[in-house]
């Protein structure tokens, strides 16, 4: 462990009061670029899917066996690699910035990058050779190569190493600052990962205890219904692990970028703790239509799910307030003048403002999904990808892209290249996604299944999905154009841009209500974590005890 700032060396960044050490920056850079590579390839697979909708099948031209192989690559790269890598790199930087000190452990920082790389190589090899066409949900008894499951283990391990490093950094900071409140930026970074540590236990057990031994032939059969319980234990809160890095940016960075202020220190801590506590005991709302689980527990999880809606509503008001302050500080008048006064020419800000706008629709459709009875209309239909492409696909991805518009200059020491292209990118992404989502949502409401090669479906002629499919395709093409512009800007910045005249510091908002009004209990993270664990036991204990004994009847099956 190294906690002492070294003297100036090549590759380190000294910005304002914070020193970012070179030996900690290279794994952060490495993960960011690995994630962006995943974004590029995964996004490209999305184009193939969109074109399949209108009868253009490009899979064999890409040496892929099927739509589903492409879909597996799309899901793995975007839902796991891109999101995990981006979180690891972005929230490691906010940890350093928040605590004003280096990460506590160099080896954990390096380990996070190396495990992410190893996981990517293993899973990529398995999927590219069609040994793991099981989609990113990998539902048993569809069997993938052991390398695929091993890859998944490494990807999750990488996030755990990042979390461990944050916690060690927090401990070191506490020793150096006894009795002081945890800096807010550090607090939200750490709590995001604490939530994920608890949430990821389900999928860790699923893969390590069941699927990996099963794929190696050590276990002869598994219980598919129970495997789904474990999968969705993690499968719902993972969306908050995708979302919270965006919230970190909206709460603490965006106000500074628009010249506004964050409303309340306490409220921000409260919101992140509200994500830590009820995020995980909600998984059964993904399993409303599972035959093996009782209605009573599905109803309990319904209520906890609606509890997680609260922090997002608080967020809506808090972030809007920060933006309004920003607009008014920039000279806006009237009731809504502040909207126009926001820095819409700054691509980093514009991308994130559009991400927030799309999130209103994404959140509303999410409430539809989680509703007990309406779920019967939309479960496993195209409505669901319509929903989550607005949330993770836009809210999270477009926020990440917006963050990249200062982050790439920050870590490369070069000015953002192609500012107008970047602006066009943000708008095209949001517009393309709305067109795409309209196609998927309307299709889903008339029974179009998700995860299906609709363009080749035997029943295509029996439905009136033509408009829905065209909108899906057009939206996909617009988003691909946007993706292309994004990478032109990133590569232009890295290779063709001028060096920065002075280093950028990570923007952090000033807080209106902070010192002196704090509730010290907020900082007792171990207490909140224990409460979260307790709620998980209450919500999942009866589900699992009521389900036992396991019905392990399914040997591995490979039908792809």
């Amino acid at each position: 462990m190294s906690s002492i700032a070294r003297p100036a060396e090549v590759g380190h960044i000294e910005a304002g009061e914070t020193i970012y050490l070179a030996e900690q920056l290279w794994p952060i850079r490495g993960q960011l670029f690995l994630g962006l590579l995943g974004l590029a390839l995964g996004g490209y697979m999305g184009l193939l899917q969109a074109l399949e909708r209108i009868g253009i099948n490009l899979y064999s031209a890409h040496l892929l066996k099927s739509y589903y192989q492409g879909l597996t690559i799309h899901g793995m790269l975007l839902a796991f690699l891109f999101t995990f890598s981006f979180s690891n790199s972005f929230l490691s930087l906010t940890t350093i910035r928040g605590f004003q000190r280096p990460l506590a452990s160099i080896s954990l920082a390096h380990g996070a990058f190396l495990t992410m790389l190893a996981g990517t190589v293993l899973a990529a090899f398995a999927t590219l050779t069609n040994q793991a066409t099981v989609l990113f949900t990998f539902y048993a008894p569809l069997k993938a190569s052991s390398l695929f499951y091993l890859g998944a283990v490494f990807l999750v391990l990488s996030t755990w190493l990042t979390s461990a490093n944050q916690l060690l950094t927090l401990r070191a900071w506490r020793r150096e600052h006894p009795g002081e409140p945890i800096p807010l930026l550090g607090f939200v970074s750490v709590v995001t990962y604490l939530m994920w540590d608890l949430a990821s236990v389900g999928v860790a057990i699923l893969v390590v205890v069941f699927l990996l031994p099963w794929s190696l032939g050590i276990l002869s059969s598994v219980d598919p219904q129970f495997e789904l319980v474990l999968f969705w234990f993690t499968g719902h809160p993972i969306v908050y692990f995708w979302l919270l890095p965006a919230y970190v940016s909206w709460y603490l960075l965006i106000p500074a970028q628009v010249g506004g202020r964050l409303f309340s220190d306490d409220l921000t801590r409260f919101v992140f703790l509200l994500f830590l506590i009820p995020s995980t005991p909600t998984g059964l709302h993904h399993q409303f239509t599972d035959p093996g689980l009782p209605r009573a527990m599905k109803t309990v999880h319904l209520f906890t799910t609606f509890a997680v809606v609260y922090p997002s509503f608080i967020t809506a008001f808090t972030v809007m307030a920060a933006l309004e302050w920003g607009g008014r500080a920039r000279g806006a008048r009237g009731l809504l003048g502040w909207i126009r006064a926001l820095p819409w020419k700054d691509p980093s800000v514009t991308a994130q403002l559009l991400a927030m706008l799309v999130f209103t629709l994404g959140g509303a459709t999410g409430i539809v999904n989680a509703s007990y009875s309406v779920n019967l209309v939309v479960h496993n239909t195209a409505f669901v990808p319509g929903h989550f492409h607005m949330t993770v696909g836009t809210t999270v991805a477009l926020t990440a892209m917006g963050v990249c518009y200062w982050l790439i200059p920050f870590i490369s020491g070069r000015e953002l290249w192609g500012r107008r292209l970047a602006l066009a990118q943000a708008w095209l992404r949001a517009i393309g996604m709305l067109i795409f989502a309209r196609g998927q949502i309307a299709g889903g409401l008339s029974g179009m299944p998700r995860r299906t090669a609709i363009g080749d479906a035997a029943y295509l002629g029996l439905f009136k999905w033509s408009l829905d499919n065209w909108l899906t395709a057009i939206g996909g093409i617009v988003m691909t154009t946007s993706g292309l512009l994004f990478f032109v800007v990133v590569l232009g910045t890295l290779f063709f841009s001028r060096p920065l005249t002075e280093p950028i510091e990570i923007p952090v908002a000033e807080v209106v209500h902070s010192a002196g009004e704090r509730w010290p209990l907020f900082d007792r993270l171990s207490l909140w974590f224990l409460i979260a664990v307790g709620l998980v036991v209450v919500a999942y204990g009866p589900v699992i005890l009521g389900y036992l004994p396991l019905n392990s009847v399914s040997p591995p099956i490979k039908v792809y």
Binding site: L142, G292, R451, S554
Partner: protein
């Protein structure tokens, strides 16, 4: 037209939920205490659960996918009248077909579907009905629908089940 419907629906649901939560929060923050409001919120969600006689699938027995074809009633997948106006459909879902894939019932029938998988996870969705259930190896999926209007109702597999997933469908023909 459908787009407008979706938009209005989404805005309505989102708007009302938002308004309700905002009002509740406001009450709590201003000290007009939350217990009554909280109970009202729980009641509202609860009413959504039990209203309109919508029932989610619930455990209906376990079965071994390897011996589905030897296990009654799945040894004879078929449509069977159980009472006047009531039918039971025993269905096997396998990669990549439903057996049987054509079901005929008179209009006004109440039909109980019992579905079991012989291999991987499948799904079972009938268009224009509330029938939507996962078909998980090891579990018998049971759902009921009433068919009032004559016509063809396509049912299809909505969970990825391998290379030919998109070929897997059938029809309920209401006469």
């Amino acid at each position: 037209m459908r787009f407008l419907g979706v938009l209005v629906g989404v805005l309505l649901v989102g708007g009302l939920t938002g308004l309700y939560i905002w009002m509740t929060l406001n009450d709590v923050l201003e000290g007009r205490a939350g217990v009554k409001q909280l109970l009202a919120a729980l009641a509202a969600i609860g009413a959504g659960v039990f209203a309109a006689g919508v029932h989610l699938p619930s455990p209906a027995g376990r079965i071994d996918p390897k011996t589905v074809r030897q296990t009654p009633p799945f040894d004879r997948p078929r449509v069977r009248g159980v009472a006047p106006g009531e039918y039971e459909v025993v269905l096997i879902a396998r990669a990549w077909a439903f057996e049987p894939n054509e079901i005929r019932v008179p209009r006004g029938s109440i039909v109980r579907f019992r579905v079991a998988s012989a291999d991987v996870i499948h799904g079972f969705l009938i268009e224009n009905t509330n029938v939507n259930v996962m078909v998980i190896p090891g579990q018998i999926a049971e759902v009921t629908a009433r068919f009032e209007r004559p016509g063809e109702y396509v049912f299809l597999c909505h969970e990825y089940c391998g290379f030919g997933h998109h070929q897997m469908f059938g029809k309920v023909i209401v006469e």
